[in-house]
Symmetry: C3
Subunit: 638 residues, 3 copies
């Protein structure tokens, strides 16, 4: 699939006097931007009172942008219902885990389960789609904005409780089956009726993890079907592709399932904000990457959304300078905005949109930089975008490389570790990410695949660490696969209802191995592996007749192998994972090259890209990389 | 009093198909277990609807276990009222300090003050006791389960408020006396009526500590009389001993007073869970003891419950492997389950019951190990239990040693430091525990005694650190005592209503010493004592004519002595306490031996036991101790 | 203005039997105290039931104190409304940010917006003032007690919401203007009616900072007009000066505006409590100052309240020994009570009042020391007060020095950094304090001035770091000023409604400098300045044609200068600020002398005082200072 690359930006005409719209549009085009996203927070200007619409300004804004040669992404405004909506539906607010309504005054103030708000959403989306469905300048759509941001998937409202009870009825059929599935005999938690079922919050001690998982599944599905509600309406009026802009490290809903209803996946990439706000690295690591971001975190999301978008994906919002919302908000190292942009393209992005065109001088995000300053002068990002636009002239299209390695990524596995971490910090997301980082350190391009992937034959290696339930279909796919599989810890550790399966885990085809027990380790503990590296956080006691390929210093099996399946009986640190993966690659003839600590690379069909996430000059082979440097070479072969 | 030792386990027939009960019973007996506890969480299976009972399964389970030669401890199921109970009594839930009900969905979801739930408890206990009171296999009873676990003593419910007002009326008689007792003139807090009195929560700044103490006393008494309610019913039907299973470091109710109504005290010993969850030691200490637990914490509780049970006590639940509820849940060092078991026996336990027979594969505790794995295969604990069972054949009975030293332990003193710590971390429990540890480091066996002990003549040394109010009776007992008394800091520092007494503290008989002021110290401060050791956390400025036996480097009295009373004017670190205690022992001819850091010993009438809490080989004298090692020698004399 | 110095104490006759009042008064006078404050928490004894008054005891107490030669400060008792008041006005309680009422049982349990409680306050103040307005012994008044202590300025009650809506109406006139001022178009937050406006709490993500600032302004004004309500009544009956006792580092209301209605400002100085409780210094700093307090924190407040009181100010409560409310409560180093007292006098205090006369043995503050112990024996503070009283005989009066340097201090700037810190720990208060400390380190006496100061000609240097909005009037004052001005970071960074102004900041007269962007830095980051020192926490990217007087190692302008204005483009550490200030002083001929780390000095018209905040002997020039030492020399010149 050929990918055409382009740049764009996010623009809020409603924030600025009409007089400057045309000049803004001209400057965007002149900078080399092709796309502009608008509309997604403008409900109060489009419908200032219920039923009273003002479309003129939006018509005009689209016309001006379109005339300047820009393609418009039109966002539905449902993430910010106006104040009058709360008067119409006082109970539409989500409720937090302590029982407090999450009030009007910022954004995302709605409960996904509220039928009244769903109806209002249908109404406004219908208005948008009917009016602009055939507009020649509207070239794509965005539904809502950043589902799940600010912990908004889960709501403990009365309407959500009722909806959850119905969801349980639909899933389990009878309350007896639910009691059985959840093991409610434990602590006499048995229900007699679906109406007995409450949320798993505010219980005296921890609630039943199966109860939690059911509630998490329900909550995710509410997002999926809310999004589909919007998509169905837009599609009735428009043949343009529909996207949603996902946010970094949001795991409370299944991104793949929302993506099934979209043509394009996109995400909002804020490397410096994420580093401080949602990556559990050490203080020294954060210090060293303060102005660059984590060298693998963006790539991981790029690869996730390439999978979510079935190949089509964008960066809908790209950090252009300091943001306002992280604990600390430094400026990027000069060159990083260009680097982040090229990295997205190297991972197959069609489009990178800078957020935002001009820094707003007011309200919550006034300290969030843009391409322009509030006084319309060019901010540093302007010049980096300009450089990328120039560079794109000779690299305007490419294709994704055939990655040798696949990492199966799964949202439900994260919900399971939320419900039952068994050790502080033992999150599935971080385990999967650690495997991903190890592959990247070896210079490998990685594909993310879904748990419902049935044909893995494109890959040489498939990684399934922490994939908590292996379906029969996935088992068949793995059995049919003749490359290498690396599993564990926690792979296939639970049934679909979050109990311990019998035979005991991992119970993987062709591997004689049984986990006698697991243990979680305090952060101060490192369990050395004789062959190199350590287990941290988590270890499993294996009983096995399989070949032991790594051993703890205490003499227990650390990794075992049978046929093409390697099972790792603990949480490997980077030293261990890099070694393990390197040996696997060597065994089957996949070329690797250990990257310098700050360097990552990514292949496309035509090029090999190198990115320096360090703030010092670095070289790899004959490639010299300045700080924040990007270098690409034509691929001689692949 | 001769002690017969035995092993047992906790079993949940309701979790497993009937088909395997008989096999389970057989394996228990074969392993050498004599006791099995059942029933305590099974209310929803016994009474699935209000008034509809299903006893058949329980009859059968008891019969099968009994036929296998096991003695049954039958638990009343009141810690887990079924879901229908909440429909009958919607206001029976306890309320947290923020005013939220503590909801159904786990366990212990009731307020001790709710009369409706008390009535339901009477009803179900009556059913249990009537049916099984004469059952030949039921050899002991357990009331409820782990009172106070998950912070469940204190409830801020409406029914608790009303009950507290009545309690105040009963205690103080008139509101004027209450105002006087609490010093309510301060900040115009005077009440005009008992109905004015609310809980001491959600106040603008700290509430009156006397108000807090009264509420804590009330809350404790509600547990005591709730337990008595159950005991009275059981006793009407059964002549078997009644126990309750206390939990580690639960201090919100007076364990002694609950124990007054029981024949047997028991507790639930989870050494690794406690280490991570409720012991304020350093990271390096926890690292070193991660797989062994604190070397004194279990012993301290053993000695407390020997006192609570007036000599008769059990471990009702013994950790057999990793648990699920601590921040980190490692596996014990091989040998520790045996060590913990023998340590309990050495302290006088009649019975050590492993929790649980088989790891449940579902619900909250599915990651809590058992003697068997979920697939019924033997888990590591099985083999350690087996070894203990073998060893018991030649050590099946013994008697408690006459300990030379007594530590007076008091729950009210902890409530006082909860209400008024005066310095972060200045908890009575930790102060008392520090003295206990120092005695243990010197190889001494310790008895815990209650504040109402009147005859101390069995002892050579009595320790009363932090005992916040010395009653007249206790004063008389101390005056009559001709051994050594070590007091302070904070001993006799408050009146019974939590005010400062005049004459100023410590005001101990025969000791001319006045505390001019006290100070709490930040954790970074150590005040060196010239004679060795340091004060940490707390120091008192003494005015005295007594003999000064230790001095701070600044020249202030650190410890003074008069007749047989030593008063320590600060919180001693281990170096100071070990030295002080060692000198005292030397003076009066009590033999001590400094233990290696990881070794502890405990004497019985017939044996001296050594326990190695370290993960390295250690020796003391001619005794060699492997990691997790236990060694005993016959007592040549005592 | 000549200042007469005196000592006093705070006394609670209602806590003690009448029998000892006369003896207490005698001992006070004998100690050399001249003033005594009473009455401020005694409402329940004065009006035990609504409308039933008992004045006899208070009449008698005042008479006894007056007869002993003491002058009485009479406090209105409104900080502690009695329990019956809550029955009369159940909704008078303030509400916390989670929606819970802040209940009766301690103090300050009222919402400033409650009209019913305002009416009750008028009633009781009228009673007080009418009865004692002409009493010959009542020589001053205190309104209420420590406004804002325990976070009591802000209330989320229903009555506060209504009052806030009216305040918005009054400020903005129309809701359209409010929407425009706050930038509510952002995220469709526009209101259609003032009744739409809620508090900025419990929003899904952060609320609009302009909304927060408006609510903070409203909350502050509620305190100002509540205080004025009391002042107006007292003044109708009495010609004696009226004070309020402010508390350390309370910033939630504008102290200057409350002070506008008072004759005397006073504050409650607890150096050791503040060190542990509200100063963000390192653990090692706190360790070193544990018994002395921060060497600049008291002085800073002294200088603030000299400004708030328009020259007339007191210490209404002076820490005499250990307190009860900080995380750790050590005793002061011997000599510190005297040092703190003399430091207050050196900064121009008329009166230093020790809190309290006698340690109360009951209720919340029973562990708070006094001049006397609970048993009426002299506590350590007694003797230090006695020494000061002796020393005062020869230093009973003085005048304030003309300070060479002014620091403009502003409460609104703190509210802005509360609403929008942009980086953790970037609080205005700490920034201003850091400049103050640097000046003190150079031996300079400093005046605090208000943002509405219009004539700065008394000063050589004016410091305006972080002053977030420079009014036109302040701009004019600065233009007219021919001394040196040091500004930045964040100076003039926002409009009065908390948006980014255009032209961009700092936009200061005569200085060509534009902040292209700002960044906040993680605590681990120090940005070295070539000329010495570092930026920490915050850096601004300047575009400028002005003279660059300091440069970062990365080559960016760190400080620029034009005419008499220096702008510092980052948060300087002490090394940087001391150097910068020292160079500025040198340039314009202000003499400085670098103080030893523990020494501070302060000039009066007649004397130069040296204070040793260290616990070791120190010398400066020919002055030898013992630990906690105070030395003064006559001023030969000024």
């Amino acid at each position: 699939m050929k990918i055409e690359r382009a740049l764009g930006t996010c623009y809020y005409p409603e924030h600025w006097p009409k007089e400057i719209w045309r000049e803004d549009a001209r400057r965007m085009a002149e900078l080399g931007l092709k796309w502009v996203r608008i509309g997604e927070f403008a409900w109060s200007r489009i419908e200032p009172e219920f039923g009273t619409f003002d479309w003129d300004w939006l018509d005009e804004a689209i016309e001006i942008l379109g005339e300047a040669g820009l393609k418009v992404v039109l966002g539905t405004p449902t993430a910010t219902p106006p104040r009058w909506m709360i008067d119409r539906h006082p109970d539409m607010l989500a409720v937090d885990e302590n029982g407090n309504p999450r009030k009007f005054g910022s954004r995302r103030h709605y409960c996904f389960s509220h039928e009244g708000y769903r109806e209002e959403s249908r109404r406004i989306v219908d208005q948008f789609a009917a009016r602009y469905g055939k507009n020649p300048h509207v070239a794509a759509w965005q539904t809502d904005n950043e589902y799940g941001c600010h912990d908004t998937v889960i709501s403990y409202s009365d309407v959500a409780r009722k909806a959850f009870q119905i969801w349980c009825l639909n899933r389990y059929g009878t309350v007896e089956k639910l009691n059985e599935a959840w093991g409610n005999i434990f602590w006499s938690m048995e229900y007699r009726d679906f109406a007995d079922i409450d949320f798993p919050n505010l219980t005296v001690t921890e609630p039943n993890p199966s109860h939690v998982l059911a509630f998490r599944r329900f909550s995710s599905e509410q997002v999926v079907n809310y999004n589909k509600l919007q998509v169905d309406i837009i599609r009735a009026y428009s043949d343009k592709p529909i996207a949603h802009n996902y946010m970094g490290r949001i795991t409370e809903f299944d991104h793949f399932k929302v993506g099934d209803d979209l043509e394009i996946a996109s995400w909002d990439s804020y490397p410096l904000g994420f580093l401080e706000d949602r990556i559990p690295e050490s203080d020294s690591f954060k210090h060293a990457h303060s102005r660059q971001g984590h060298p693998d975190f963006q790539a991981f999301h790029h690869d996730i959304y390439r999978a979510v978008g079935k190949g089509r994906w964008w960066v809908m919002e790209q950090q252009p300078g300091p943001v306002n919302w992280a604990p600390y908000n430094p400026a990027p190292l000069p060159g990083m905005v260009r680097l982040w942009t090229w990295e997205a393209f190297a991972h197959g992005a069609e489009n990178v949109m800078y957020f935002r065109w001009r820094q707003a001088p007011f309200a919550q995000e006034q300290m969030h930089s843009g391409i322009l300053r509030p006084d319309s002068v060019e901010a540093p990002a302007f010049h980096e975008a300009e450089q990328v636009a120039r560079e794109l002239q000779s690299l305007s299209s490419d294709q994704n490389v055939d990655a040798p390695i696949a990492l199966v990524f799964d949202y439900e596995s994260q919900w399971v570790t939320d419900a039952q971490p068994q050790g502080e910090g033992c999150h599935y997301f971080d385990l999967a990410f650690d495997y991903y980082c190890a592959a990247r350190r070896l210079g490998l391009s990685v594909d993310i695949v879904r748990t419902d992937a049935r044909d893995l034959s494109d890959y040489k290696i498939v990684l399934i660490p922490g994939l908590v339930t292996i379906s029969d279909a996935m088992k068949s796919a793995l059995e049919a696969f003749d490359g290498e599989v690396i599993a564990g810890p926690r792979t296939n550790a639970k049934t679909a209802e979050l109990s311990i399966p019998r035979p005991l885990p991992p119970n993987m085809p062709g591997l004689d191995a049984t986990i006698a027990y697991v243990e979680s380790l305090r952060p101060s503990v490192q369990l050395p592996i004789k062959e190199g590296g350590n287990f941290i956080r988590w270890r499993e006691q294996l009983e096995t007749t399989a070949e032991i390929v790594a051993t703890t210093e205490a003499g227990e099996p650390a990794a075992v192998r049978s046929r093409n399946m390697t099972y790792v009986a603990g949480w490997g640190d980077q030293a261990l994972l890099v070694r393990l993966l390197s040996e696997t690659c060597t065994r089957i003839g996949v070329a690797t090259e250990l990257m310098p600590a700050s360097v990552r690379r990514r292949d496309t069909k035509n090029h090999r890209f190198y990115f320096n996430y360090g703030n010092a000059q670095t070289s790899i082979g004959d490639i010299d990389l300045p700080p924040a440097g990007v270098v690409w070479k034509e691929q001689s072969s692949t």
